[in-house]
Amino acid sequence: MLKAKNKLGLVFFPAFDWAISSTHPEREERLLYTQDQLFEEGIGDVEGIEFFNPAIANEKDIKRVHFCVPDVKSRVTQSHLISAGGVIKSLQMVMDKKVDKSFALTRPPGHHAQRVVYGDRGFCIVNMEAVAIEKIRQEYGNLRVAIIDTDCHHGDGTQDIYWNDKDTLLISFHQDGRTLYPGTGSIDEFGGPGGYGYNINIPLPPGTGEEGFLYVLDNIVMPILDDYKPDLIINSAGQDNHYTDPLTNMNFTAQGYAVLNHRLNPDVAVLEGGYSIEGALPYVNLGIILAMAGMDYSKVHEPDYDREKLKQSKDITEYIKKISNNVYSRWENRENLYIKDIKGMEYIQEQRQVYYDTDGIMESQVQNFKVCKKCSGVNTIDSRSDRRHHIFAITIPRDACSSCIDEGYKLYKNTANKYTNVYLQDRLNDEFLAK
């Protein structure tokens, strides 16, 4: 019988009875052929690979990360609580050492879900990884976590949530925002005052193939991880960089995803996007599973795989090298950049528009980060939607100093009457208020 080198837990929950709509990419059928492939390969019979059901996240787990407007109940469905629960289960099993690694193949995805949630954007309402990480931190202490987002779309939700948190390093590589939804993810999006330098974007040109992705992995991601020394590495394993994906323009492959996971060696992988459900997902998921289990994935490839045809152009290779150099030197230089860009300021204010493409909602918000010498700094969001909500949200960070805690509660108490909803997220005491 086949044996896995690493004990791998699979939370495979295809939610065969849930869809955004019957022809939407995020529909019942999405993981059907992945299931067929995994079943036919006999993955469940491999010694050391075990299937688990998801846990179910609760309202508090969501509030720890999101300001759902007006409330959690009206925004978040059972399917989201289960998908987040799948990631919670995956992290818990690794933390409890029940398995060496785990892979949450759950849906819907979550990496476009930001702190404020008016509705669905990029098929996401709840940020699954963030909800799971914050729960784990409550249970197991303040771990240093690195999230490597390999989805083709910029992980803008995860970026927003961990913008000001240097204990959560986010590295997102994605198709350049000038050519793809959601449009963000440029190199100079570098983090808030409390986490400046710990939000790393690597925008890649359309047509990037195996060579380019693995170049970025070897030359930026791995060296940064060596510096950062995380307790936990999570791969936000979106699979829409695949050459057959209907929504994107990249040339990545099942082999490439397998090699990437082999070298990255994440503790936990979480399925994000990926909508080539017949031509890519069955093979990409099989490749990731085998790589994580420490098994031979060399024979995994797509029916129409043609290495020569998928080779990236010389121009792309050169361009990626240039970008990589730039990103890495910014990382190495992050303390100087902090002094140059932030030091001496009391508050940093950021203004932006957020479009909820799935639900067609427009939001405009102003985030305000206190630059605090003792902690990451209390921060607020003043946000308005075109659905007549105007909210004020306050976050007291996990490492908050006493003056930031006081300031947070004072802000909550003395809010102006103009807001429809006011929220306080006290991450230090794990308490969440709303009025």
Binding site: L2, T23, Q35, F39, V300
Partner: protein
């Protein structure tokens, strides 16, 4: 009149059941080296003074195939395996020769790469040169499209005595299991067929023309002719006989724990609303995971004759049996000795003295009296069974599910009672009742339970239907059915078709009268989308005739 025979590891049991009553039963030692002779002599003895013309059916549970596999006495097999891309395949090698061939079918049943015919010709020649007479052909995703398996079989022609195609073994997806199941089917083919021919001849000689059925691991039966084609289905039918026996003696329509406590082992089974719980994919024999449908059963090394030691001031029972109980001259104290000490089973003075002696020796280490020690042993036995049952229930109730509905509202197995048979059943029943806090039943007579189970087992079948309306293809691998359907085919039509297929085929599995109890066990229908438009439906349906009793036992089963 129904004749049931169960050939176990140590004994052969036989019964005759007439109008729900056991009219005759016998028990004889098994002859492992000559199973046919053992069955034949049992049958002869059973049928003395019997009106043979009144026999409606003969149900046999036999270890012929099991023993051949376990004792490594199977025929050489050549395997032709097409694995395509995916996982590595070296570990799939089984049998004498393995050919890993070119070609490949994907998960939608599309042929991506064609066969290399000369490669197959060469392999066939190599196999035959080596004197191999059985050949298995398995391609990945052959249940989605069996075309290449069938083509290979056609190329082989009549070069082999038997050829097994993977897709005929099961409609379930699991390529490695399909390889092993096909291999084992080939490997036991000649052994089982020799046996079947002998049995048929012998019955003919005796002037019996009743149909013969063979018990399967799923608690159902198949005709001897089907068994000749799929002998692998006859493996490990022993636990199924015992399971059906418990159900015949102690019928239940609830969630229940079924126990068969013997001398060496305790077998644990479960009922869910009176329906047997099955292994999710199939049974395992030796190192081979198969797709042979089977009742979920777990055997623990805990029985009346298990040896007892004191480990860290605690009583430890089993898993080994090191001989007879101490009372009867064995080397170690056993639960049976505890029962003798407590005068719960019949004994003579000499036995009782020895039993007491063994209890005293244990008691000394535990600082307990002879009776206290004996009681503690039986309580420990109950506790060990409870712990195992709890562990299994937790495992069963956390089996993977794939829909929100099942995750939130899926059925959980919550046993309401215990039905137990076997030597110590009566004595342990009150202890189990207390330990597990559930009512516990035992029959007044269990001695030929396995033969009763075999006798009363009904034919079963399971089919797996897959419909792709964009391709307009309907398939049922178990029936070797692949046909065109309209693009408007839907789930309701699929369910109806599955049920009618089961009913149509009921005759071929030996259901000749009465209603066919066909049911749908799984159903799903997925909207398939190409681009942004629905291109068809992917429909999946499973239907079965579930295991059950031909008739209920009536009145006192003592015969």
């Amino acid at each position: 009149m129904i004749v049931g025979i169960d050939m176990g590891g140590t004994n052969i049991d036989g019964v005759i059941i007439e109008d729900g009553r056991i009219v005759k039963s016998i028990k004889k030692p098994t002859d492992r080296d000559n199973p046919f002779a053992a069955i034949y002599s049992t049958l002869k003895e059973l049928l003395v003074d019997c009106d043979k013309s009144k026999i409606e059916r003969i149900n046999l549970s036999t270890t012929v195939s099991t023993n051949a596999i376990v004792e490594n006495k199977t025929a050489p097999v050549g395997m032709i395996i097409q694995s395509g891309p995916g996982m590595t395949y070296d570990h799939l090698a089984c049998g004498q020769e393995n050919a890993f061939i070119k070609g490949y079918i994907d998960h939608r049943g599309n042929v991506v790469e064609e066969l290399d015919i000369s490669e197959i010709e060469d392999m066939a020649e190599k196999f035959t040169k080596e004197g191999i007479k059985a050949c298995g052909i398995v391609t990945k995703f052959s249940t989605r499209n069996p075309q290449q398996e069938i083509y290979i079989r056609d190329i082989l022609g009549d070069r082999f005595n038997t050829v097994t195609m993977g897709h005929t073994m099961s409609g379930k997806l699991n390529f490695p299991r399909r390889v092993y199941t096909s291999y084992l089917n080939c490997a036991v083919h000649s052994t089982f067929n020799d046996f079947a021919v002998n049995i048929k001849r012998a019955l003919e000689k005796e002037g019996i023309d009743a149909p013969i059925f063979i018990l399967k691991a799923d608690g159902g039966t198949m005709t001897i002719n089907s068994a000749e084609e799929k002998p692998v289905e006859t493996i490990l039918s022993g636990p199924a006989a015992s399971f059906m026996g418990i159900n015949a003696l102690l019928p239940s329509d609830k969630d229940a724990i079924l126990l068969d406590i013997g001398g060496t082992t305790t077998d644990i089974f479960f009922l869910a609303d009176g329906i047997p719980l099955f292994e999710p994919l199939g049974i395992k024999i030796r190192e081979y995971n198969t797709l042979v449908r089977s009742i979920y059963s777990l055997s623990v090394g805990l029985g009346g004759d298990s040896s007892i030691d004191i480990i860290d001031s605690n009583i430890s029972i089993g898993p080994k049996r090191e001989g007879k109980p101490y009372a009867f001259g064995g080397p170690k104290p056993t639960p049976t000795d505890a029962m003798i000490t407590l005068e719960l089973i019949s004994y003579n003075e000499k036995h009782k003295d020895r039993a007491n002696e063994s209890m005293a020796e244990l008691g000394e280490k535990l600082d307990l009296s002879v009776e206290e020690t004996a009681n503690l042993i039986l309580e420990t036995m109950g506790k060990m069974i409870k712990d195992k049952v709890d562990e299994l229930l937790e495992e069963i109730n956390s089996h993977p599910v794939y829909t929100i509905k099942e995750l939130l509202y899926g059925k959980k197995l919550e046993p309401k009672l215990i039905n137990v048979i076997g030597g110590p059943a009566k004595i342990l029943a009150p202890i189990l009742e207390k330990t597990l806090d559930l009512p516990c039943n035992y029959p007044s007579n269990y001695l030929v339970a396995n033969a009763v189970g075999a006798a009363l087992a009904r034919p079963t079948m399971e089919i797996t239907m897959h419909v792709d309306t964009s391709k307009k293809v309907l398939s049922v691998p178990e029936l070797e059915l692949y046909e065109k359907v309209s693009s408007r085919f839907n789930l309701e039509m699929a369910k109806e078709k599955a049920l009618s297929l089961v009913r149509e085929n009921a005759k071929s599995i030996g259901i000749t009268s009465g209603n066919v109890d066909a049911e749908i066990t799984e159903e799903s229908s997925f909207n398939m989308v190409k681009g942004f438009y629905t291109s068809g439906k992917d429909i999946r349906v499973k239907a079965q005739i579930k295991p059950g009793l031909i008739e209920e036992l009536r009145g006192d089963i003592n015969a």
